[in-house]
Each structure stands twice: as C-alpha cells, then as structure tokens.
C-alpha cells in the first residue's frame, strides 16, 4: 500500500509542491474512525433529527413537534430551563471572571495559583450526584450550614432546607460548577491582556477605574460574552444534578426528556423525547453560533504568547 502511495506523488500527477505522499487511497485511512463515529455519534444525531419529524408509528409528520410546542407542561419546563441557565451563566460568569482576575493579580505559577487552577478543573466537571451530596451536606436537613442556621438564625430561609429543592436552590447548585468553568475559560484571556495598555493608560494620567471603564471592560466584553454563552449551554444541557436533587419531570426540559424516554408506567413516548431534544438542540446551536462569532472577533488580539 505504501508503494502505491509513493507512486501517486510522482510529478506525472501534476501535483507539484504537494508536501508529501497524497493519493486517493489515503481516504481509506479515515474509514475506521468514520465507522465508530458513524455508529456512536452520527447515528444518534440522525435518529433525533429525523425522529423529531415523525410520529410514534414512524410516519412523517410535524404533529408531535407542534403538540410539544403548544403543551403548557413543556413550555413551563423549557422556560424554567432557559431562566435558570441564563441566571446561573451570568452569576457564574461574573464571579468566575472576578476570581480569575484575583488569580492573575497574584503570583502566577505559585502554589495558590496552581491549586486554584487544578481545583477549578475538577470542580467544573463536578456535577450530578456528588454535587447534590455536597449541597445536601451543607444546606440540606441536618447539614452543616442548616444546623448553624437553626441554632442562631431560625427565622431565615437557611434554617428550612426546602429552598434547595426549588428554582433558587438549583441555581445555587449550578452556579457552583459554573464559577470554576468560567475561571478556566477566562484565565487565558486575562493573562493575554497586554500590560502595555495599562502602562499607556497610567502614563497618560488615567486612573485605575478609567482604565477598566475605557479600556479593560470594552476589550474584554466579547470574550466575556462568549464565555457566558458557553456557561449557558453548560447548564442548559445539565441533567444529572437536577435528576438527583429533584426528580420532577415538569421542572426542567432534560428531566422531561428522561421521563418521556424511560417511563415504565406505560407513558414512554420516544417521539415526544425526540421533539423535546430537537428544541434543545436548536437553542444550543443558536448559542454556539453566537459563541463562534464572538470568538472570531476576540481572536484578533487574543493570541497565544
């Protein structure tokens, strides 16, 4: 096979200047990867995309999509999902960006910096069961903070653990993994801010707040917005945390999808699951498109050192 590849590069093919052996047989090299990705990635994608436009009998129709669109339950869950994702993305982005700023202003490569970065990459992945446990141990019945609150501040909401199981509670949990993700995403951006800009501003008599107001914030806004979009997608897609904390199917869209898919009481409705999934993908694709557009603007100045 390699012999054939060598022949293909001869000048007779007219492809002078091609760097190295190229031939039609090279396409064979991607077949194993195509098989695996076709099976585990393209097939499920196609299955959802085409299934959203079919009813449960496999016939083409948009009836399920319309039905789901007009269903008050689905709308309520979708609105909850959007609201929680937007709020936690914003809260996580602001707190994470501030923390990243605090890290950049410290000694880079020091122990505090290294441990913070390592901890961030662990906690950013820290969703689901373990996160739920952590917050139940903190704010749940008989949890650390809850016990303190019962003793010293029995009239605050902290003393009654039921707040954890609502929109506010789940937002607090989601923000916990949003902050570290923001730190990871935003740290390189802050590290690549040119110190010369600050120096120029100082040399021209600018105050610290003027630097941030006129230079820092305007130049960071696109990457901040892009990172916030990433966080939005992150919590919009999250399932495990909500599923282990509150398993109410009409609370968030991912929970509703899981119920439609697995319900063992005869209510399983794969077509509904696919239609809901389709709407989720639409939202994610829109967010990711904006993200890609913002990244393109950013990449003009933010380059690897």
């Amino acid at each position: 096979m390699t012999q054939a590849q060598y022949k293909g590069t001869g000048s007779a093919t007219g492809r002078t200047g091609s760097r190295y052996w190229r031939s039609k047989t090279a396409y064979l090299g991607v077949i194993p990867f195509l098989l695996v990705s076709g099976l585990f990635l393209l097939y499920p994608t196609w299955n959802v995309a085409s299934g959203a436009f079919q009813n449960n009998n496999g016939k083409f129709s948009t009836s399920v999509l319309k039905e789901v669109f007009n269903s008050p339950v689905a709308r309520h869950a979708f609105a909850n999902s959007l609201e929680i994702s937007a709020k936690t993305a914003l809260a996580g982005a602001i707190l994470g960006a501030l923390f990243a700023w605090a890290l950049v202003n410290g000694k880079q490569g020091g122990y505090f910096y290294r441990i913070s970065v390592a901890l961030s990459s662990v906690l950013a992945q820290f969703g689901g069961v373990m996160l739920t446990f952590a917050f139940l141990a903190t704010f749940g019945f008989n949890g650390l903070i809850a016990n303190i609150a019962v003793k010293y501040a029995p009239n605050t909401f902290l003393a009654d653990a039921s707040w954890l199981y609502g929109k506010f509670g789940i937002s607090v949990l989601y923000t916990f993994f949003q902050i570290p993700l923001m730190v990871l995403v935003f740290l390189p951006t802050l590290e690549n801010l040119k110190p010369q800009w600050r120096e120029a501003s100082d040399a021209l008599g600018g105050k610290a707040y003027e630097y941030w107001l006129r230079i820092g914030i305007p130049i960071l806004t696109p990457s901040f917005a892009g990172a916030a979009l990433l966080l939005f997608v992150n919590s919009f897609s999250a399932y495990a945390t909500a599923a282990t904390l509150i398993n109410l199917s009409d609370f968030l869209t991912p929970l509703q999808i899981a119920t439609a898919l697995t319900s063992e009481t005869g209510g399983a409705n794969p077509a509904e699951a696919k239609a809901l999934s389709f709407y989720m993908v639409v939202v994610v694709v829109i967010a990711m498109t904006f993200y890609a557009m913002l990244r393109r603007r950013v990449s003009k100045w933010e380059q690897r050192r």
Binding site: S37, N47, I257
Partner: protein, 264 residues
Amino acid sequence: MKQSWGVRLWRWTIISIVGAYLLVPLYAMFDFSTKPFGFADKGRTFRAWSIIPSQPDLIAAVTRSLITAAIVMALILFLIVPTAIWVHLKLPALRRPFELLCLLPLAIPAIVIVVGIAPLYRWISIHLTESPISLAGVYSMLILPYTYRSLSAALDAVDIHTLAEAARTLGANTSRVIFGIIMPTIKTGIVNGSFIAIALVLGEYTISNILNYKTFQVVIAQIGRTNGNVAVAVSLASILFVLFLLLLIPTKKRRSEVLDVDLV
C-alpha cells in the same frame, strides 16, 4: 510588582467570597461523612470511610469504570489521534469536515445523545454484552471536542509535515511515522486528552443512569439512598483523587517541551 491597597483589598474580598462558596460544601461533605452513627451524638468517627473497601458493589463499579476509561484512552490513542494526524498530513480537504464532526458533540447535550442512542444500546445489550464497559463507545464521542482541541493545538505548534517527510526519507514506514515520530512530539496534548477521559468516565451519570448501566456514579447514587455517610465519603475521596492526579502533571515543563519542538 507592588500592589496598591485597593487592589489587594479587592483581591482578598473576591478570593474569600468565591473561595467560601466553593470550599464550604467540600468541607461540609467531610463533616457529614464523619458524623457519628447511631446513639452517639458526640465526637467524630471515620467509620463511613473505613467501610468503603467493604462495599462490593462499589469496588466492582470502580473497576468497571476504570476499565471503561482505559478503553476510551485506547480509542483516543489508536483511533482518534492517528486519524487526526492522518487528516492533517494527507487529507487537507477533509480538515474542515473532520473538525466539524469532532465539535458536533458540543451542540448535542448528553441527554439528547441518550435519546438517539437508546435503540443502539438496546441492541448491544441483547445481542452482544450487557456490561457497562460497552459505554466506552459513546464516551469516546462525548470527549471528542476536548481531545480535538488539545490535539489540534499541539499539531499546529509542530511542523508535522517536515517531521513526517524527514522520517520518510530516513526510511520509516507510515505507522512508524505516526506512532513513533509524530505522536511522541505531541504527547502533552495526548496526556491532557487522556486525563479528561478518566474524569469524564468517572463522573458520567446521565447516559448510564437512563440506559440502566451500573457505573460508578449510578452506584454512588444508589448507596446514597441507604447509607448517606458512605456515599458522601466516597464522593469526597474521588474528588481528592482526581485533584491529586491533576496536581501531579507539571504545567511549566509541558509548555517548554512544545516550544522546543517548535524551534526544530
């Protein structure tokens, strides 16, 4: 560099607020896992920690999840990385489609992938195997965006065309070029990708729970229903384990290695 009072004050305010948010729940896990059992209402006990090794379900689940992680890493090493190099070297026309394919999982939440892949795993569990290890297939796709990013950064930093040409001139065959020449030069990218594989497989819950596979997280959730202290102890232990692994990888060295190759 001297910092002004304002900056220092701001810095420590932010660090203590955000730090408390992130660390108090972790400490609460420790506190909860060492709470006394039964009638004793004082003091600390490490009973929950000491009975971790005697949970057969848990040990089996950890073993399975680690095997799954190993298979995912093998898929990265022998399938995804060689394909990425192959496309870079020989099929420039496919670079864009390959990139799009690799980034596709970013646009599809795990919960949506489950919906699409449920029939496939139903088939696999009937005809091939019921073992959760078969989840390695879908896991290797879930981490594709992360693998691709660390790989493409590494591949862009090194002039692999020249390397490959030089190796060919000196008589190396194709597999030697890919596995013996190019892969060692981008090994940091590969190590990073493999590390994410462990973290992902140990932390994955959505797919395995809905498809009814008993992976690490699913078993922890089950234990949590009957024995909260033990489940919390296991969770904290696994977080510390992953953190420890991460701190082992030196960050400074890696950067200079890539640069060295770049200068060649």
